[in-house]
Amino acid sequence: MKEIVVISGKGGTGKTSITASLAYLAKQEVIVADCDVDAADLHLLLSPEETVAHDFYSGYLAQIDNEKCTGCNRCKEVCRFGAIEVKAGDYKVLPLECEGCGYCDEICPVDAIEMEEQNIGEWYISKTKVDSSMVHASLQIGAENSGKLVTRVKNEATNLAEEKSLNKVLVDGSPGIGCPVIASLSGADYVLLVAEPTNSGFHDMKRVYNLVEKFDIPAGCVINKADLNVELTTEIKNFIRKNEITNFGEIPYDDAFTEQMTEGKTIVEAENNEIKDQLVEIWNKIKSN
């Protein structure tokens, strides 16, 4: 089983557009997993259908039963998050503040508080427009993105791959460097870094590469929008070489990406496109790595 994870550090580098293109090229050879669960976009290019949805639970919220409450105020006193409010003698939990730590439940002398597990999102299994299976998710607003939903998406994708006797899972990874990315990278067999020649893009890519190194995962890098800044592209290439990351080449800045996206299509679906050839080559190299 080969898990290929596409990450970038910074948002907006073209990570999802490129992952969608690879998914399109790979057709039914892969299970696609969208682990970018906080504002997920991959589905906009792969037109998922026949979706089966599952509830996702994580974290707890305190619930106060005002019938049992005696107004002793202990809960409000111990809450470090300012999540308990009193109005007209009624004790209320503020959902956006409550951290789900359970301290109030523990301390309440009359057992008026319960911790309820929260339904904070959904995950889905769908069929993409190239007839491959895709596992994706959506996290509710304000939810904690602990990586648990990312892990669920990945596990479901891996299970599906086993069921269908497929040996590759292609993952659109999370941006940033926190738990969701760590969860995206955990278990990865190969990482594709999508870099862009901007100061902020390079800065963030180095930060996330730190994690890739720590996990000791072989990696390759493609520089997107490479002609925007030749100097920075060269700097990135030096970084790639120094760190023994496979150089997958450079993709020029092309409005075609956006034009295609506007129609819900990946760049490899455009006609007469050199970028398509580049991506075909990249996919072939990743497959055989």
């Binding site: 550090g9 910074k10 948002g11 907006g12 580098t13 999802t16 906080d38 504002a39 976009d41 906009l44 707890y60 111990v78 470090r80 998050f81 956006l96 951290e99 789900g100 730590c101 359970g102 301290y103 523990e106 301390i107 911790m115 996290l139 607003i141 304000g142 939810a143 904690e144 993105n145 941006p175 940033g176 460097i177 926190g178 738990c179 862009e196 020649p197 901007t198 100061n199 902020s200 893009g201 800065h203 963030d204 930060r207 730190n210 994690l211 929008k225 925007l228 800044n229 920075l232 800045y253 409005d255 956006t258 034009e259 996206m261 506007t262 819900g264």
Partner: protein
């Protein structure tokens, strides 16, 4: 006056807008810019200025005192985050999992888990003319952005008078760090691009702001590409489009170098003026 600059999607130009806007505004009055994207702060690249202070930022975590412990197991039992493990001869604390709720520490019958500080990141302050720039950065491996965002906002609240304009560059997305960064602000600028990705994520961001009941407006970056979906959505939902920035290669190139745009590109300067005017109207 606190203004958040946010976007559902990463890469739409949030930091471009916040840095240009902060610099532009600082030419008119005292301004504060705080980069609250503590996992990957990027604004510093665009701001020149003197470093005037650097502070380590700490969170509170329990510290096990073996001589007092009776191995009753209460600490491990009450922790909802699995940050405390009871082993045969030891109580192990996992600081990075700790949410600093103090439950284990305060419920320990023998006071064997006093809370102590643990470094989680760094907050730096810079001064560039009339612009005070604050960047907070989470240490790699630290998993929680919210405490650092909270402390940074507290710092800004205490140090600067209420009337001073303060811009908060928020993290992308809609999860809890974003809520933390936005919730105490007076106005939210939502940055988007006129593409299906931009629209999809704008809707999520707009929902977030509505839930927090904060007045907001939209800035469309890379205007000219994609389609009219974002504009139509804003009209349907009655969300004002307070400025647009045209799609241009020149903008992209300047950005890639870490240069400020409004000094070189007239349309960007115009956009900054429009946004500043909107803010003035709100004051």
């Amino acid at each position: 006056m606190k203004i958040a600059i946010a976007s559902g999607k990463g890469g739409t130009g949030k930091t471009t807008i916040s840095t240009n806007l902060a610099k532009y505004t600082s030419e008119q009055e005292e301004t504060v810019l705080a980069d609250l994207d503590v996992e990957e702060p990027n604004s510093k690249i665009f701001i020149q200025g003197q470093l005037i202070d650097s502070q380590n930022k700490f969170t509170m975590v329990p510290n096990w005192k073996s001589d007092k412990c009776t191995f009753c197991g209460k600490c491990s039992e009450v922790c909802y985050f699995n940050a405390i493990t009871q082993l045969p001869n030891e109580i192990l604390v996992f600081p990075k999992l700790c949410h600093s709720c103090y439950a284990c520490s305060e419920l320990c019958p023998v006071d064997a888990l006093p809370m102590q500080s643990e470094k989680m990141g760094v907050m730096e302050q810079y001064q560039d003319g009339n612009l005070s720039f604050i960047e907070s950065k989470l240490d790699i491996g630290q998993e929680q952005a919210v405490p650092l965002i909270e402390q940074t906002i507290d710092f800004v609240d205490q140090k600067y008078p209420d009337e001073t304009i303060k811009f908060f560059d928020t993290p992308p997305g809609t999860s809890c760090p974003v809520i933390e960064a936005m919730k105490s602000t007076d106005y939210v600028i939502l940055v988007t691009e006129p593409t299906p990705f931009g629209l999809h994520d704008l809707k999520l961001a707009a929902e977030t702001v509505k839930k927090l009941d904060i007045p907001h407006g939209v800035v469309i970056n890379r205007y000219g590409i994609g389609n009219a979906g974002v504009e139509e959505y804003c009209e349907e939902e009655d969300i004002p489009i307070i400025a647009t920035i045209p799609n241009s290669r020149k903008v992209a190139e300047l950005y890639s170098n870490g240069d400020l745009l409004y000094k070189e590109i007239e349309e960007v300067k115009q956009a900054m003026e429009n946004i500043y005017q909107t803010i003035e109207d709100y004051r």
